[in-house]
Symmetry: C2
Subunit: 360 residues, 2 copies
């Protein structure tokens, strides 16, 4: 079955004129067929360029195309989907939209889907366990053909193709799109090392974040390789679901309360780095003169923060578009075996929040 996304446009009428021609109601195949004195079957065959269409003379085809254009015929989405058992729709599971992270990924997803005639339904789970179970069910009921999860644990039976952006669980049938965390950690640690930092504090992510564990593991590894000692007192963790810098602010206050000296802070992400900078400022620590702060993600907030954040960039848009492309491929080739992980590369983006450590 060939899906015709775009009807041949011969006439230059505006949508308004067409609207009036069809009296405001969209025309059905049956009506169009009646108007042409042909059967719906013939129209369907011609409009979809089905195999049988070669036996239909060009002249008839032209008549059909012309009428379809004139009446602005569009196949009814439900009828077609019911028949074909296809929805041309994906489900998107995200924690929350306004954190900057998911939105960037969605942009990438949409950029691919819109050229393929696909749409997507979004569901935010807010890290709530009940929604993590319920939303996927609802999406499946809506007949989505696949699911793209973003920073979301898979708490349901994967009966359809799934791509998980920043997913780390190895589940049959689920492709994870992940950052090369080893590289990311090395980029971060080496950058701080080169600047002379040895006492580095860390903000770990919330337990519910998919990347928390791997990021922490790789950072420890990279630190060991560089001979950096990680002091337990210099580790704090984000708490709570607030998608604003608030959590990073609170965590850093806790860190400062311990009165242990550190010259650099490696935050879990840009959002928490921004919160951290606020806490540091309030404690009369200058960034970067007294403490260097390193973010993660490179969301829009990073470049224009004051001071501009040095950060490890994740190619979020590309991760979104890769997720969409992969899922489309999975649909196109259901029997092909797909890699369980696709890896993308991070980049160090040096701005103003990190600086050489100078003993005072």
């Amino acid at each position: 079955m060939r899906i015709f996304l775009v009807m041949p446009r011969k006439s230059k009428k505006t949508s308004k004129e067409k609207f009036e021609e069809t009296n405001g109601r969209s025309i059905s195949l049956k009506e169009l067929a009646a108007h042409l004195g042909l059967s719906p079957t013939s129209l369907s065959i011609v409009l979809n360029d089905a195999p049988t269409a070669n036996s239909i003379p060009q002249e008839t085809k032209d008549r059909i195309f012309e009428a379809a254009a004139k009446f602005n015929y569009r196949p009814n989405y439900f009828a077609r989907s019911l028949r074909a058992q296809r929805s041309f729709t994906f489900g998107l599971l995200v924690p929350e939209l306004s954190d900057g992270y998911s939105a960037m990924v969605l942009n990438g997803v949409e950029s691919v889907l819109s050229t393929e005639g696909f749409f997507y339904l979004t569901a935010s789970h807010l890290h709530r366990e009940d929604l993590l179970e319920h939303h996927p069910q609802m999406l499946i009921e809506r007949q989505v053909e696949g699911i793209i999860a973003v920073d979301t644990p898979i708490r349901f039976n994967p009966t359809l193709p799934i791509v998980n952006v920043s997913g780390h669980d190895k589940i049959e049938g689920v492709t994870n799109i992940i950052l090369n965390h080893d590289s990311a950690a090395k980029l971060g640690i080496e950058h701080l090392c080169k600047l002379g930092h040895r006492k580095i504090a860390f903000i770990k992510g919330q337990d519910f974040s998919s990347d928390t564990e791997i990021r922490w593991q790789t950072i420890m590894q990279a630190a060991i390789e560089k001979g950096i000692e990680i002091d337990d007192d210099l580790i704090v963790q984000l708490e709570g679901e607030n998608p604003s810098p608030e959590t990073g602010y609170a965590a850093t206050q806790k860190l400062l309360a311990r009165k242990k000296k550190f010259t650099a802070l490696f935050a879990f992400n840009d959002i928490s780095a921004i919160g951290a900078i606020r806490a540091l400022c309030e404690a009369d620590c200058r960034v970067p003169e007294d403490v260097s702060v390193l973010g993660f993600d490179d969301t829009y907030a990073a470049a224009f923060h004051n001071p501009a954040l040095t950060t490890i960039k994740q190619p979020l848009f590309e991760m979104g578009s890769l997720a969409a492309k992969t899922l489309l491929q999975k649909l196109a080739e259901p029997n092909r075996h797909f890699a369980q992980t696709l890896t993308v590369e991070p980049k160090l983006v040096v701005r103003r929040s990190t600086a050489r450590f100078s003993r005072k």
Copy 2:
């Protein structure tokens, strides 16, 4: 027709167990009916609690409910939608997702829709004229029951209910949800006045932003009322579609190049205020000591910027939920007349980016 969103849950089986009972495929009404030795009609009547259902004895009803629960029966979305001519879906038109503004509105929309069994399809137009025409068509083809537009001009024939968040065009059938811009402008201007500012610079929005014109008009009005003179040389306008602070940065550089003195800057939104602060910093203007900067929107970025932004808060989440509620009402009461505009109130949020003007 009553739509049963939630099936009675008698058994405590996990979704996985149920999955195995039905052999992985979801069961159809016909199959379920055959299994019970009844007609599909009877099941439909009972499950939907149709008027005729009173003539069915409770015992039979129980059998039906039980079997439906046991086999985890779900009505096929396409079949039901085809028959009922309903999609339980809205279309959302946004300029872009990752600017913080649209995402907050979408959060509000989703919070309402998810309790009503509705989903939404998102389409980003990036302010491109072709997409402004094309996307609504695609959404309508997908049979959305209504459209919520966010900061988006209506370039199509409104054949279905529409709510436009921050829309200002008066179009029959379109309800605009707008901020009380008079209040907003007054809040901003009065705040700056009280702090002693008289030479105020302004960043206007891009021409494509729905709020640009009204915001500018109301600000001028408020300035006149306060006896503030607006110097043409102190007005700059955002240019380009970049959703990052970049545009505000560029605009402010242009402003500074004019070498005209000003003590406060009223930006079009938080994003551009953040860009402006960067430009001011680079020009060795301290914020707020030398120049006060006032933002607009109160997105997540505002509170934790350095310095924290004083801003005019738009209740974006509420605007989204109000939009969703209104659109649902429009569907429920197609003949009722709805107000052409619904107004929400701004709030002044005083933080650190504005301060008293002190002559040096």
